[in-house]
Amino acid sequence: MKTVLLVDDDHEFTTIAARIIEFIGCDVYTAGSIGEAKQWLADMRFDHLFLDFMLPDGSGLHLIDHIRSLKLTAQITLITGHPSVKAALASMCDEQINYLTKPIEADDVKRVLNTKTATHHAQSDPFERHFGCLIGHSPAMKKLVTMIERVAKTNANVLLMGESGSGKEVVAQAIHNASQCSGEQVSVNCGAIAKDLIGSELFGHEKGAFTGAINQKKGVFELAQNGTLFLDEVTEMPIEMQPNLLRALETQTITRVGGAKPIEVNCRVVSATNRTLAEIAQKNVLREDIYFRLAVFPIEIPPLRARPQDIPLLSEFFVHQLNDEYKTQYQLTEQAHTVLSAHSWPGNIRELKHCIHRAFIMADPDTTTLTIDEIVSSPFASAQASDNQVPPRAPATSATTPSAPVKVGETIEEVERKLIYQTLESVDGNKTLAAKMLGISTKTLYNRLNAYEQSTPEETK
């Protein structure tokens, strides 16, 4: 929900406009003067300001100067009742500022509130974002960006597949931002809705449709009209509910629970799952007919370990976000970057973000450097890694039975090095897990690896 500040000295106008903006789904505050608006800005954070050009204690431009001096990123819409100053207002518009002329209509308000701020971020932070939200320049990311660009030009439904924490929701947002749709993105987690309420959540209900349905309610298909509907964890939807979804996808019409009238819907459906294709097919979590409707264009989101070039950039970005939030100036040290780049991140970007946040909390307040001595892996990620990765490989490359035999005359150091590399290989480079299997600390493992790299760089490569 966006928070809006409406600044106008015409009390009747602010009362009606506030009511209209409330119906659009925003939280609205009003001010009758620049002084009053400044007070609100000091106390609260607003996403959007509607600002009258002429106010009793000065021009709206004075308030814009004030907003810029505070480095606030709120979007600003100037409102004027004088059509003659339209041209002057238009000349002042940029990424942050646009304008409306009175009388304002609900559709105009919706349009300015939905102004996509893709390029806006570039002003407030130094990170280049693809489609306003994706960060990364690795080959895997470039491939993903190309796929998003292509599919955004069509109306095709997209199925996003990727490990937990790999950024499926951000990719869904990128597809929405890249497409030319006029509606909004509406997200729903199919795994989080009670079985009995899925129908109502997706398609809405009529008043009195069931006990507790005290008002009519629109479903997410209707709310995403002319926009994007993001169905997260779609494979967690009970299979018996899937025929209803299939019907909506096929006919592009829905009927509210308890209703009789079919309602036409027009939205792109982007769905996401962290299950693999093989798992989807074998475990019968998604009907085949639904799969073909949802996965017109399937996109595999690479795990973070498949795009290690992005780790430094993403790490810097998360530090920047925290610095921004807490008004600090921390920077990652070289050592921190080395440790971060060496980790395999089984929990993907979410785990990286968590790790940076932890380091930020632990940082010495007397310095501006952020060091990371050891990565505390997520217990869930470690468990998953143990479940998924170790058993299939264990027979061939068990820590106790290295595949390359130990030769008489080899030094203990050579045997140890072989053991370390084979253990690492058996866990796909996960150093935390390898250290655990070897019975040494992660720090010791890093020290050993650094020593090997320095002594025989060619061999280690």
Binding site: I16, I20, I104
Partner: protein, 66 residues
Amino acid sequence: MTDKPDIATLIHDARKPLNHISMHAELIKILSQKPGSEAEIQQSAEDIIKASKACSELLQTLMTQD
């Protein structure tokens, strides 16, 4: 020369109730979709009538200016 600012002021003043009329109509459009909004619709309709009268009076003043 002295009449022009007065006419501009009058036009500005007339625009204000016209804007209110238009926005009340917009609000009624939205409220008519929401069950239980009868009282608010009634209020907006009354405000439209009030604003129309104010506008009419202002236009009358404009007539006498000429």
